[in-house]
Structure formats: structure tokens, C-alpha cells
Symmetry: C2
């Protein structure tokens, strides 16, 4: 009973704070952009595994992963981040409302990811040293956006 009360209070507090369950349009956009992040993580994992020596360097596989990463970075975000899809407004996302207040900065950080991904696509198939050299910058551009705009 006490637990049920606590659950109800938590739910009420959440609703009072403004967050609610996303409607179909918003929920679909959130799922899609989270899908983009999963793909980033996957191909970064393939490249990172080679960079750290956990998997053997393979130029063809590295090139395919880097090309894929660049493709993922090149998709349009225009419909993936609709107004009202921030973590204060809906459940199931860690996207800070600050994103929608700093579009110019978000755009610049997004462009930095694409540039770093393009550099990786040039480097990855060359040799392991080149791949390793491109890795830090790529991870840094991901982290810069997460640090500023991803909540807990």
C-alpha cells in the first residue's frame, strides 16, 4: 500500500513537472533518433575494437564501418527533433530542452561530428595508425554534444 502511494506520488510529481507520455508523432521521432545513436555506437564499437586491439585490424571492415558511420552522420535531423520532444516535456528521452534554445550551437556540434566522421572515412581504410589518430577527434565530437545536451 505504501509502495502504491509512493508510485502515485512519483507519477503525480512527474506530471506536475510537465513530462508526459509522448504521442505517436513525438514518440516515433524519439525512437528514430535513438536508432541513429545506436547505429553510431555500433560502428564506433567496430572501429574502437580495432583501435584498442581487441579485434584485428582489417582495412576493408574498417572502411565499411567508417563509411556507414558517415552515412549515419549525414541523415537529416530536421524531423528527428520536433519541438516538445525534450526530457522535460515527455518520457523516454534524455534530450535537454536546451537543444531547442541553442539551435546554432547544436548545428555546429552536429557539423563537427560529420566532419570527424568524414575524416575517419578517409583514415580508417588506410592503416591502423590513421584509424587510431582519427578516433579521438570523433569521440570528442560525440562527447561535446552529449555533455552539453544529454541529461541523465
Amino acid at each position: 500500500m505504501a509502495k502504491r502511494l509512493l508510485t502515485s506520488l512519483t507519477l503525480m510529481a512527474t506530471m506536475a513537472a510537465g513530462a508526459s507520455f509522448a504521442d505517436g508523432h513525438i514518440a516515433g521521432a524519439i525512437k528514430a533518433r535513438q536508432g541513429q545513436m545506436q547505429l553510431y555506437a555500433h560502428y564506433l564499437g567496430v572501429l574502437g575494437g580495432m583501435a584498442r586491439g581487441n579485434t584485428e585490424y582489417n582495412a576493408e571492415a574498417a572502411q565499411a564501418a567508417a563509411d556507414s558511420l558517415l552515412a549515419v552522420a549525414s541523415i537529416s535531423g530536421a524531423t528527428l527533433w520536433p519541438q516538445g520532444s525534450d526530457m522535460d516535456s515527455v518520457e523516454g528521452t534524455r534530450a535537454k530542452a536546451a537543444i531547442w534554445e541553442n539551435f546554432a550551437d547544436v548545428g555546429a556540434k552536429s557539423m563537427a561530428v560529420t566532419t570527424a566522421a568524414a575524416n575517419m572515412a578517409t583514415a580508417a581504410g588506410t592503416d591502423l595508425e590513421s584509424l587510431r589518430a582519427a578516433m579521438g577527434d570523433l569521440g570528442g565530437t560525440c562527447g561535446a554534444c552529449h555533455k552539453a545536451y544529454r541529461g541523465r
Copy 2:
């Protein structure tokens, strides 16, 4: 009690059939390919909304969605479909084991999606009629793979 027994029996039956929880490597690949499907669904939704007249046709927005769809179709599947990531082997996926027994056919169906997406990228920004004309073929190529290789 009867329900708990039933749950136990179901779990035992599932384990007997070979399905288990995916390890990190397999689980990551499944999440990533499901992310790819979410992105397909999202951009198809944008284009489909215009095709059905639910949203107003906008050449620039249609082109961005179609270009994104083509980018999503062009990513490498080499590491997204590891052996042992089928629905008979692990939880959380509807990928039929038949995929790994019919790689040539899967490859052909995947290529058909990419071709249809390329045709959409040519059509979408032209006008609404062209977009509509490209839609059926695109949906058909998605459906062909789902029908053959996606379980329930």
C-alpha cells in the same frame, strides 16, 4: 500459482527451444539494426504522410527525407547480423534463422531496397506525383524482406 507454473513452463520451453538472452556483442548488433529499421520507418513516414496528403508536399523536406532514407539503406550490414542473433537463438529479435541460410536472397532483397530508395531520392524532390509513384515500389521492397524473414 497456476499462472506461475505456466510462466515457468513457458520459460523452460523457450530455453529448451534454444532462445536465451543475448550477450553484449549480439545485443548491440540487434539494437543497431533495429535502430536502422526505426530510421527507415521514420523517413518513410515523412514521405508517406505527403503521399497520402496528411502533410503538405514540400520539395525540400521530401528530398531531405529521401536522401536520409538512401543513406540509411547504404550502411553496411556486415556487422549488424552476426551468426547467432536470430529469434530462435536469442530474445528480443524477430529475425528468422532463415536469413542466415539464404544470404544470397537476403542480399538481393537488400539491394532492391537500396535501388528503390535511390529511385525515391530522384523522385521525391521533383513533385508529389513522382514521390507517389516511387512509394509503392519502396514499400514493396521493405515488405518482401519482412514477409520472408521477419517472424512474429
